[in-house]
C-alpha cells in the first residue's frame, strides 16, 4: 500500500529529479545551517546530499567556497546521527581535493575508525585516507595496519583498498604494510582476499622476482575468492608475456599450467577469465587454444545472457587471429544469430562473417539486415568493421557488401557511425579497383543528403582525386555542383576544389567547368569559396598543363604549420628577398601505423625534433631542418649504457643526436660525448657533450658534421665510441662518493648514413604528368641492375622504397598478384631542394632485374641515386 502511494506521488510530480533546479550559491548559503547548535540531522543530511549532487554533476567549487563548506561540515561531528555521519564522510571525500586544511578532521576520523560503531569504521577509513598526505600518513600508520587485519571484513577491505590508493602518493609507507596484507590474503572473506592480493601485487609489482614468488605461492594454495583467482590469472598472464618477450617462451611453464587448470575451476567467472587470458596471450598456439575455445563454446549455450555475451565477444576477438580455431564453434554461433539480445546477435554475426566461407556471406548479410536498425551505433560500427574485413578477404563479394553499406548509409546514425561506413567504402575503393565506380556512385548519393560537413568535405576531396580518372568523369560533376548550390560554405569550398581537379585533369570538361561552373562560384557569398574559385579559374585560364598540375593536382607539399611559422617569421623580419618556399620543411608522409597511433598529435616528427634542436643554442645556425631519421639503436637493449642515434639532415650539415641512457645505478657519468670517425670528405664542425648523465635519465649529446661537397662521398659509415667520465656513487642517493672520476669509453655500433636520410618523401598524385614535364627540364640517368637476392617483386619493391626513402606514387608500391613485371614510381626531394623522380621497371627472372630511370633537377643528385642503388 505504501509503495503504491509513493508511486502515485511520484507520478504526480512527473517523476522529475528533485534536485533539478538547485543552484550552487543557494546550496552553499544553506550549508551555513551546519553551524547551528543543536544540529538538525535531517536538514543537514538533505543539504549535504545537495552538495554531493552538485559536485557529482561536475559543478566546480572554488577553494574558499570549498574550505568554508568543509569547515561548516566538520561541526556536524557533534551529532551522533548515523546517517548524517556517513554523509559527512562522503562530503569529506569529495571536498578533500579542493578545500584547504582538510587534515583538521584527522583525529575525528581516527576516533571513528578505531571506535566501537562498526557502521562508521569502514567509511571513516576511506575518508581518512583521502585527506591524508605523506607527512600525515606516519601518524595513522599504526591504525591502518590494525584495520587491515581487522576481523570485520568491511573494515579490512576498506583499509586494503585505501592502501592501494595511497600507493600513488606514498608507496614506501604502504610497502611496510606487506605483512598485514599477507595475513589478509588468508582471510575467509571473498572480497578481503581479493583486495589483499591487489595490495600485495601493487607493493611488489616493480620487482619481478617477488611477483614470481607471490604467484608461485598463491597458485599452490588455491584461493577461495574467485575475484582473487581472476586477478591472479591476470598477473600470471603479464608475467608470461614478459617472459616471452625476454626469451622465446616455453609452453610448459607452470604459470601457463595454472591458467589452464583454472579452466576447470568451479566458478564461471574464473573459467571465463582463464579462457580469455589464454586467448589473449600473444604466443598461444592453436593447440593451447583448443581447450579455451571449447569452454567458450559451452558458454555460448549458457542460459545467462552475460556469459553468452562474454563468450561471443571473446570469440569475436579470436576470430581475427585464429579464425580456424573458432570455426569449430560455428554451429553454436549459428544458434545465437537469432538471440533475443541484439548485442549478442550482432557480435555473433560479425564473428561468423570473419570465420565463415564466401558462400555464407549472402545469408548472413540478409540476417543482419533484418535487425540492423534496432542495434545501437556502437554495434553498428562493429558490423561495419566486420564488413570491411570481409571485403578485403572476399573481393568478389563487394557488390553485396557495398549495397548493404549504402543501405546503412541511408539510415539514421551518428557521425562516428557514418564516418566508419564512409571509411570502409573508401578503403574498398582503394583496395579493389573493380569496386571503384560503384563505391563512388554510392558516396555521391550519400553526399546528396549528408548532414555532416566533415564527411561531405572528405568525400568531395576523394571525388576530386578519383573521379577524373574514371571512365566517365562527367557524371560526377552534377553531384559536385549540386553541393555548390545547396550546402554550407565549407562544403561549397570543397566542391569548388574538387571541380578544379576535374578541370585540370579532363581537358574535354574544362570549358564547361571553367566558364560556367567556376565562374558562377566567383559570385559566392563566402570569401573562402570566392577565393578558391578565383584562384582555380586563373590557373585554368592559362591553359598551361604543367602549371595546373603543380598547383591544382599536387597541392601543397609543405607541412602547413611550418609554413605558417615561416611566413610569420618572414613578416616579422621583412627583407627584400622574396619568400622562398624551399626553406619550409616538407611534410613527411606518415606510415599507416603512425596515422593510427598519432591521430591526435598535430606535430610531425620533424617539427618536434626541430623544436628540440632549436632549443640548443649551438645548433640554431644550420638552417631549417630537412629530415630526421627514425631512431637507430646503437647498443643492445639491455646493456650498461643504451644509446640511440637520430640523424638530422640540414641543407649543408648533418647533426647526429645521441640519446644516452645510463642503466647503472651506482655510476654518475659526466662530460658524455660520442666520438665519431667520419669517412673522408666529412668535416667535424663541433661536438656538444652532455655534462651530466645520472642513473636512468635520458641525456642527449650532439655531433655536427658538414656534408662533403662531392655528393658521392655523403653515403658511408661512421665508427662511434661513447666517451665519458665515471664517478662512482651511492645507488640510493645518486650522489657521487668522491669528486675524483676516471675516463672510460664504450664501443657503439656503426652509424650508417644512407641516401634515404637525405631525401624527403613527396606525394605526387599525378606521377605521369610530372614525369613528362620533367623530361624537358630535368637531367636523366638510366641504369640496369640485377637484384639477385630478391625472390619476389613485392620484396624488391619494399626494399627499394625503404632504401631510397622516397614516396611511391599512384599506389605503385602494390604489386598486383600473378604478374611478372611491375613499374614502381617514386618521388622525393633531395636536401637543398632538388626534386627527384624515379621510375623503376622490375621484371622477375632468376631474381629481379631492374631498370632504373632517375630524373632530377641536379645532375649530381641523379648520379648519386643511381650509384647508391648499385
Amino acid at each position: 500500500m505504501n509503495a503504491f502511494k509513493r508511486d502515485k506521488k511520484e507520478e504526480e510530480e512527473g517523476g522529475g529529479n528533485p534536485f533539478q533546479n538547485i543552484e550552487k550559491t543557494t546550496v552553499l548559503q544553506e550549508a551555513r545551517t551546519f553551524n547551528d547548535t543543536p544540529v538538525n540531522p535531517r536538514k543537514c543530511t538533505h543539504i549535504l546530499t545537495k552538495i554531493l549532487y552538485l559536485l557529482n554533476q561536475g559543478e566546480q567549487l572554488g577553494t574558499t567556497e570549498a574550505t568554508e563548506a568543509f569547515f561548516a561540515m566538520t561541526k556536524l561531528f557533534q551529532s551522533r546521527d548515523v546517517i548524517l555521519r556517513r554523509m559527512v564522510y562522503l562530503g569529506i571525500k569529495e571536498l578533500s581535493g579542493i578545500a584547504e586544511d582538510v587534515i583538521i578532521v584527522t583525529s575525528s576520523l581516527t576516533k571513528d575508525m578505531t571506535g566501537k560503531e562498526d557502521l562508521y569504521r569502514a567509511a571513516a577509513i576511506r575518508a581518512l585516507c583521502s585527506i591524508t598526505d605523506v607527512t600525515m600518513l606516519q601518524a595513522i600508520e599504526r591504525y591502518m595496519k590494525q584495520a587491515i587485519v581487522d576481523r570485520n571484513c568491511a573494515v579490512s577491505s576498506a583499509a586494503l583498498v585505501s592502501s592501494l590508493h595511497l600507493t600513488k602518493i606514498a608507496g614506501d609507507v604502504v610497502k611496510r604494510w606487506v605483512n598485514e596484507a599477507q595475513e589478509a590474503v588468508n582471510s575467509d572473506s571473498v572480497m578481503v582476499q581479493y583486495h589483499a592480493l591487489g595490495v600485495l601485487y601493487h607493493i611488489r609489482k616493480s620487482d619481478r622476482l617477488a611477483v614470481n614468488k607471490l604467484v608461485a605461492k598463491l597458485t599452490r594454495m588455491s584461493l577461495k575468492s574467485p575475484y582473487a583467482v581472476c586477478m591472479l590469472i591476470r598477473i600470471a598472464c603479464k608475467l608470461l608475456e614478459e617472459e616471452d618477450s625476454a626469451e622465446g617462451g616455453s609452453s610448459d611453464s607452470p604459470l601457463f599450467e595454472f591458467i589452464e587448470s583454472c579452466l576447470r575451476h568451479k566458478s564461471e567467472m574464473v573459467i571465463y577469465e582463464a579462457a580469455r587470458a589464454i586467448v589473449n596471450l600473444r604466443r598461444t598456439t592453436s593447440r593451447e587454444l583448443a581447450p579455451a575455445v571449447s569452454v567458450l563454446q559451452l558458454f555460448c549455450s549458457s542460459p545467462k545472457p552475460t556469459l553468452r555475451f562474454a563468450a561471443v565477444r571473446t570469440l569475436n576477438k579470436v576470430a581475427m587471429s585464429h579464425p580456424a580455431a573458432v570455426t569449430a564453434c560455428n554451429l553454436d554461433l549459428e544458434n545465437l544469430i537469432t538471440d533475443s539480445n541484439r548485442s549478442i546477435a550482432t557480435l555473433t554475426i560479425t564473428t561468423l562473417l570473419k570465420t565463415g566461407a564466401e558462400s555464407s556471406v549472402d545469408r548472413l548479410m540478409k540476417q543482419i539486415a533484418t535487425f540492423v536498425s534496432e542495434i545501437s551505433d556502437e554495434f553498428k560500427i562493429v558490423v561495419v568493421q566486420a564488413i570491411r574485413a570481409l571485403c578485403l578477404k572476399f573481393p568478389r563479394k563487394h557488390g553485396v557488401l557495398m549495397n548493404f553499406l549504402s543501405a546503412m548509409l541511408r539510415d539514421e546514425g551518428g557521425l562516428e557511425y557514418k564516418a566508419s561506413i564512409a571509411d570502409t567504402i573508401i578503403t574498398i575503393i582503394e583496395e579493389n579497383p573493380e569496386a571503384k565506380e560503384t563505391g563512388l556512385a554510392h558516396l555521391c548519393e550519400f553526399i546528396e543528403d549528408c548532414e555532416h560537413t566533415s564527411l561531405a568535405v572528405r568525400i568531395l576531396h576523394l571525388l576530386g582525386k578519383e573521379g577524373p580518372r574514371t571512365k566517365q568523369p562527367s557524371r560526377y560533376i552534377r553531384f559536385i555542383y549540386n553541393r555548390v548550390i545547396l550546402e554550407n560554405a565549407p562544403v561549397r569550398a570543397a566542391a569548388v576544389a574538387a571541380m578544379a581537379q576535374f578541370g585540370a585533369t579532363c581537358p574535354d570538361l574544362l570549358p564547361n567547368i571553367q566558364v560556367v561552373l567556376l565562374a558562377r562560384c566567383q559570385m559566392d557569398t563566402d570569401d573562402e569559396v570566392r577565393d578558391r574559385a578565383t584562384y582555380y579559374c586563373s590557373i585554368l585560364e592559362k591553359q598551361d598543363k604543367a602549371l595546373a598540375n603543380r598547383y591544382i593536382v599536387e597541392g601543397l607539399q609543405v607541412w602547413i604549420p611550418s609554413l605558417e611559422k615561416s611566413l610569420h617569421q618572414y613578416t616579422i623580419n621583412p627583407s627584400d628577398v622574396p619568400f622562398d618556399m624551399k626553406s619550409v620543411p616538407l611534410a613527411s608522409i606518415p606510415s599507416p601505423e603512425e596515422i593510427v597511433n598519432t591521430s591526435g598529435k598535430a606535430v610531425s616528427r620533424e617539427e618536434s625534433y626541430a623544436e628540440k634542436l632549436q632549443s640548443v643554442p649551438e645548433l640554431v645556425a644550420f638552417g631549417p631542418l630537412f629530415r630526421s631519421s627514425e631512431p637507430v639503436e646503437l647498443t643492445e637493449s639491455e646493456t650498461e649504457y643504451v644509446v640511440r642515434c637520430i640523424k638530422h639532415c640540414f641543407p649543408q650539415h648533418l647533426i647526429l643526436q645521441f640519446d644516452c641512457l645510463n642503466t647503472l645505478n651506482d655510476q654518475l657519468l659526466e662530460n658524455v660525448h660520442v666520438q665519431v670517425e667520419p669517412p673522408d670528405g666529412y668535416q667535424l664542425v663541433r661536438e656538444i657533450p652532455c655534462p651530466r648523465l645520472p642513473y636512468s635519465e635520458l641525456g642527449t649529446t650532439y655531433v655536427v658534421l658538414q656534408f662533403p661537397d662531392e655528393l658521392g662521398a655523403t653515403v658511408g659509415t661512421f665508427n662511434a665510441t661513447l666517451k665519458f667520465l665515471v664517478k662512482d656513487c651511492d645507488p640510493a642517493t645518486g650522489l657521487p662518493d668522491s669528486d675524483e672520476g676516471y675516463d672510460d669509453e664504450y664501443m657503439l655500433e656503426d652509424v650508417e648514413v644512407t641516401l634515404g636520410d637525405q631525401i624527403q618523401k613527396v606525394t605526387k598524385a599525378n606521377f605521369g604528368a610530372a614525369w613528362e614535364e620533367a623530361a624537358a627540364s630535368h637531367c636523366e640517368l638510366e641504369d640496369t641492375y640485377s637484384l639477385s637476392n630478391m625472390g619476389t617483386l613485392e620484396e624488391a619493391v619494399k626494399n627499394i622504397v625503404s632504401f631510397l626513402g622516397m614516396q611511391p606514387a599512384e599506389r605503385s608500391d602494390r604489386v598486383p598478384e600473378g604478374k611478372s613485371s611491375h613499374t614502381l614510381f617514386l618521388a622525393g626531394v633531395y636536401r637543398g631542394g632538388y626534386d627527384i623522380l624515379v621510375r623503376a621497371k622490375l621484371a622477375l627472372a632468376e631474381g629481379v632485374t631492374m631498370q632504373l630511370t632517375v630524373r632530377s633537377t641536379n645532375a649530381d643528385v641523379a648520379e648519386l641515386v643511381t650509384s647508391a642503388v648499385g
Binding site: 587534515i103 575525528s108 601518524a139
Partner: protein, 189 residues
C-alpha cells in the same frame, strides 16, 4: 518565549546545551582534561597528540557540554578560528611547568581575544594551570600575572590549578564554568 518555557527555565529543568572550545599549546593536556570529564565507559586509555580536532560530549550538573578539543600543534593553531563563532565558552589549558613557552601562550591568548568573533562577545573563559604536580610548576597566581589576565575586563574568567592525570582541580573549574553558563543563559532569556 512562551510561559511554559519560562517556567521550565526558571526551575532549571530544561537541559541546556552549550558548545565550548578547548584550546592551548600542544602537550598542555587538553585531550586529557576532556577525557577526565567523559563518562567512565567512554574514557580512552591512552591519549595521543590530536590532529585537527575532536568532538567530545559530557554533562555537568544538568548542562550538556559539546567540547571541540582543538589540536594545539603550531601547524594547526590557525584553524582554531573556524570554531570561534559558535562557542559559548572557552577552556584554555596551560602547561604550568613549561616556563619557556609562557610567552607563546600569552601571544596565542592575545590573538584569541582580539579575534573579531571573540572580542565583542561575553562568555566565560576558564583557565587550567595544568600539571601542577610537576615540581617546579608555576602557581596559578604567577601564571595569571604572566599572561596578564587582569586585562580581560569584558568577560568573566577564572583560573585554577589542576592535574588532569589525577583529576585534581578539574571539578572546581568546570563547576565555575557551569555556573557561568547557567547565569548567562538565564540573563539572556
Amino acid at each position: 518565549m512562551g510561559f511554559w518555557d519560562k517556567l521550565v527555565n526558571l526551575l532549571g529543568f530544561k537541559k541546556r546545551e552549550v558548545n565550548i572550545l578547548v584550546v592551548g599549546l600542544n602537550n598542555s593536556g587538553k585531550s586529557t582534561v576532556i577525557n577526565h570529564f567523559k563518562p567512565e565507559e567512554d574514557k580512552s586509555t591512552e591519549i595521543v597528540p590530536t590532529v585537527g580536532f575532536n568532538v567530545e560530549k559530557f554533562r555537568n550538573q544538568n548542562v550538556g557540554f559539546t567540547a571541540f578539543d582543538m589540536s594545539g600543534h603550531g601547524r594547526y593553531r590557525d584553524l582554531w578560528e573556524h570554531y570561534y563563532k559558535d562557542c559559548q565558552g572557552v577552556i584554555f589549558v596551560i602547561d604550568s611547568s613549561d616556563r619557556l613557552r609562557l610567552v607563546v601562550v600569552r601571544e596565542e591568548l592575545d590573538l584569541l581575544l582580539q579575534h573579531p568573533d571573540i572580542s565583542g562577545r561575553r562568555f566565560p573563559i576558564l583557565f587550567f594551570a595544568n600539571k601542577m604536580d610537576v615540581r617546579d610548576a608555576l602557581s596559578s597566581v604567577k601564571i595569571a600575572a604572566g599572561l596578564g589576565l587582569e586585562r580581560i575586563l569584558d568577560k568573566p574568567w577564572h583560573i585554577c590549578a589542576s592535574n588532569a592525570l589525577t583529576g585534581d582541580g578539574l571539578q572546581e573549574g568546570v563547576e565555575w564554568l557551569t555556573q557561568q553558563v547557567r547565569e548567562m543563559v538565564n540573563n539572556r532569556s
